[in-house]
């Protein structure tokens, strides 16, 4: 998948429906945003009717509410609690089973899934997040075969955000809102009074082949300009901002800053931030056996640096205090990730702020450590 490389096309809502049909007919399992339990979450979708029509979200520290829009937008909201890592890097995965026959045991690895996933409505920050997880799970010293199989066959239909969420700061992290690479198709939703259409950019041969199966026409220059205006408006209305050019030096030279103690008085170590984060990749393994001891399995599950078990070595946990665990999470996300994988681990999606039950705001914590306040914060 590459950068958008040719003139944009325009499709209607019916065209989007045809696109979903073509994707599913091509053997993909289509997954996209849906409304469930008063939140926008990713799930299997069959048609445009499964998308959250006319719905938006209100997000702030520790707060998430859905609301009605006064139009029929299908992508008129920011990201919800799910991210695509739910599919690519499963929350729970059996890695292998083992069987003991007499003196000998043998281990049978779980074969990688053969599902071809089509992600519908992937935002720029989420593409960046997937690319960040690629660096950890595929492009480092060892390959995770399950992630690799799903990732390589995945189709990405991206969406340029038409609305910035209340906790969004992708602009600060240079991760959005414009989708620039890593997609097969990229949509920009255009809502112009009575007209409802989508600009479509193609980013791969597969994307071009799909578009060719769908009724579309060349976008007019007015439509292209309208699409630009949507993205510019989103970029200009970020709910949060954070200076990000010096975070490695700033945080690693402030490992004993009093703010860590202060945030520890609020942090519940609940692990929400790590579960909703689209880049957090940490896992644990659970080795189990049946009662006879003849069969055993290993499961991998998401883990969090906020638990005591995470750093346990005989005698106790290395990070016994909430302060040290919050510091580990934030310094890893914003600072040491750069040493490890060449980029920040943060994409500015704002999920950790929204889904923190006490509304801890990573941008505010950085500001506090920087010693400045919001009024002097040098934005974006």
């Amino acid at each position: 998948m590459a950068k958008a490389d040719e003139a944009a096309a325009t499709i209607t809502v019916e065209g989007l429906q045809a696109l979903l049909r073509a994707i599913r007919a091509g053997g993909y399992r289509a997954i996209g945003p849906t409304v469930q339990n008063q939140a926008i979450v990713y799930d299997d979708i069959e048609s445009v009717d499964d998308l959250p029509r006319g719905v938006t979200d209100e997000q702030d520290g520790g707060r998430y509410r859905l609301a009605r829009r006064d139009d029929d937008a299908l992508f008129g909201y920011a990201v919800g609690p799910h991210s695509w890592k739910k599919y690519l890097h499963a929350p729970k995965l059996r890695l292998w089973t083992a069987e003991r026959v007499g003196e000998n045991a043998s281990v049978t690895p779980e074969a990688p899934p053969t599902d071809r996933l089509a992600f519908i409505g992937v935002r720029a920050c989420e593409i960046r997040a997937i690319e960040i997880q690629d660096k950890v799970l595929v492009n480092d010293m060892y390959v995770d075969p399950h992630y690799q199989a799903l990732r390589e066959s995945a189709l990405i239909v991206a969406v340029n955000c038409g609305k910035a969420g209340g906790t969004c700061f992708c602009v600060s992290m240079h991760a959005g809102p414009r989708v620039e690479q890593g997609f097969d198709l990229a949509l920009t939703e255009l809502l112009d009074g009575t007209e409802h259409s989508f600009l479509v950019e193609t980013g791969s041969d597969e994307g071009r082949a799909l578009l060719a199966q769908v009724p579309h026409r060349l976008a007019s220059s007015r439509e292209v300009e309208a699409g630009e205006a949507v993205i510019e408006h989103t970029a200009a209305s970020m709910g949060r901002n954070m200076r990000s050019d010096d975070l490695n030096e700033l945080l690693m030279s402030n490992l004993e800053h009093p703010r860590w103690d202060e945030v520890a008085t609020r942090c519940l170590s609940c692990t929400n931030c790590t579960l909703v984060c689209p880049t957090c990749f940490c896992t644990s393994v659970e080795d189990t056996s049946d009662l006879s001891g003849a069969r055993a399995e290993r499961w991998r599950r998401w883990d969090s640096c906020f638990t005591m078990d995470f750093s346990y070595i005989h005698g106790g946990s290395v990070r016994a205090s909430a302060k040290s665990r919050y510091r580990q999470w934030m310094t890893h996300k914003l600072a040491t990730w750069i040493d490890q994988f060449g980029s920040s681990g943060c994409v500015g999606c704002g999920r950790c702020i929204t889904w923190c039950p006490v509304g801890i705001d990573i941008t505010e914590e950085v500001r506090a450590i920087r010693g400045g306040d919001a009024s002097t914060e040098d934005s974006r």
């Binding site: 890695l95 292998w96 083992a98 003991r100 003196e103 000998n104 045991a105 043998s106 281990v107 690895p109 950890v136 799970l137 480092d140 010293m141 060892y142 390959v143 995770d144 075969p145 690693m252 490992l255 004993e256 990749f281 940490c282 896992t283 644990s284 393994v285 080795d287 189990t288 056996s289 001891g293 055993a296 290993r298 991998r300 883990d303 640096c305 078990d309 995470f310 750093s311 346990y312 070595i313 005989h314 005698g315 290395v318 990070r319 016994a320 205090s321 302060k323 040290s324 580990q328 310094t331 890893h332 040491t336 040493d339 490890q340």
Partner: protein, 282 residues
């Protein structure tokens, strides 16, 4: 046992262990035991590297290889029973099987140390990951300057590799000092920590490389003493331990600042970790 094993193919499933027979099990002390595994294909290892060992149905832990890297057809591990998995491994006997993944990580700088005086300092079970380096140095003795081994344990009963310690004591060109923290009247060796024994070793601080393995507090104290003696921090190497679930840089548990102990270590150059070691709970 064939003398040369066919090399193992790179495992397509890096989290899947290979069940491997235990060929020898010996008890070193009340808590510590050593066993050999006979892998079906060769997984050459460097001194200081570790394997992930799986006790069937119980769990998996990282264990440094304590045997001779020049005989990789026999993988020796020395383990202290401290948790459920190490305790389960301690109940094995010859003929049983252990799940094996590895080897992993960066080992001791035995090549870089050629031409230098070499100091190896182990605390407790920390002597086990150093033993492959000692074997290496003895096998290539002429390539190195003076070699000194310091080993500290809690009591004489906790000492591991007893017969070998006697052998090393008699080995020409190998300085060995063993200290215990507490001892009865029949102990004739040194009492206390290992750090004061540094002054008993003959070495040229300007031309020495040190390798340390033991509890973190012992590592810090020993590195400090070495620096006081004039050894540069870039010539001190320390082997570190953290919680580890995968050993392949994916689980995130072993992070230490920017480092993954599993793939950037377990052996680290001290000047690259000393500032991080200064922070509590990092």
């Amino acid at each position: 046992m064939p003398q040369t094993l066919k090399a193992c193919a790179p495992p397509p499933y890096p989290m899947a262990p290979t069940m491997t027979p235990v060929t020898r099990f010996i008890r070193e002390s009340a808590e510590v035991f050593t066993f050999d595994l006979a892998p079906e294909c060769a997984t050459p290892f460097a001194p200081g590297q570790f394997n992930m060992l799986y006790a069937f149905g119980v769990g998996e832990i990282p264990i440094s290889i304590s045997g001779d890297s020049q005989s990789p057809e026999r993988l020796t591990h020395t383990i202290r029973a401290v948790g459920p998995v190490s305790a389960a491994l301690g109940r094995l006997k010859a003929g049983d099987q252990v799940g094996l993944r590895g080897p992993f990580g960066v080992g001791w700088p035995v090549e870089e140390a050629k031409g230098f005086d070499v100091l190896l300092i182990g605390g407790g079970i920390g002597l086990a990951p150093l033993r492959p380096a000692i074997y290496w140095l003895l096998r290539h003795r002429a390539a190195y300057g003076r070699v000194g081994v310091l080993y500290g344990a809690r009591t004489p009963e906790d000492l591991i590799f007893g017969a070998e310690l006697e052998e090393w004591r008699r080995t020409p060109d190998l300085q060995l000092r063993v200290a215990v923290e507490r001892a009865g009247p029949d102990w004739t060796g040194d009492v206390g920590y290992v750090t004061p024994l540094l002054s008993k070793l003959r070495f040229d601080p300007a031309d020495a490389i040190a390798m340390i393995c033991g509890p973190e507090v012992m590592i810090r104290a020993t590195a400090l003493a070495l620096e006081d003696a004039g050894v540069a921090d870039s010539r001190i190497f320390v082997s570190m331990e953290r919680n580890m679930k995968c050993a392949i840089g994916h689980c995130g548990h072993c992070q230490f600042g920017p480092l993954f102990i599993c793939k950037d270590g377990p052996v680290h150059r001290y000047d690259r970790v000393r500032s991080l070691l200064a922070y509590r709970e990092l």
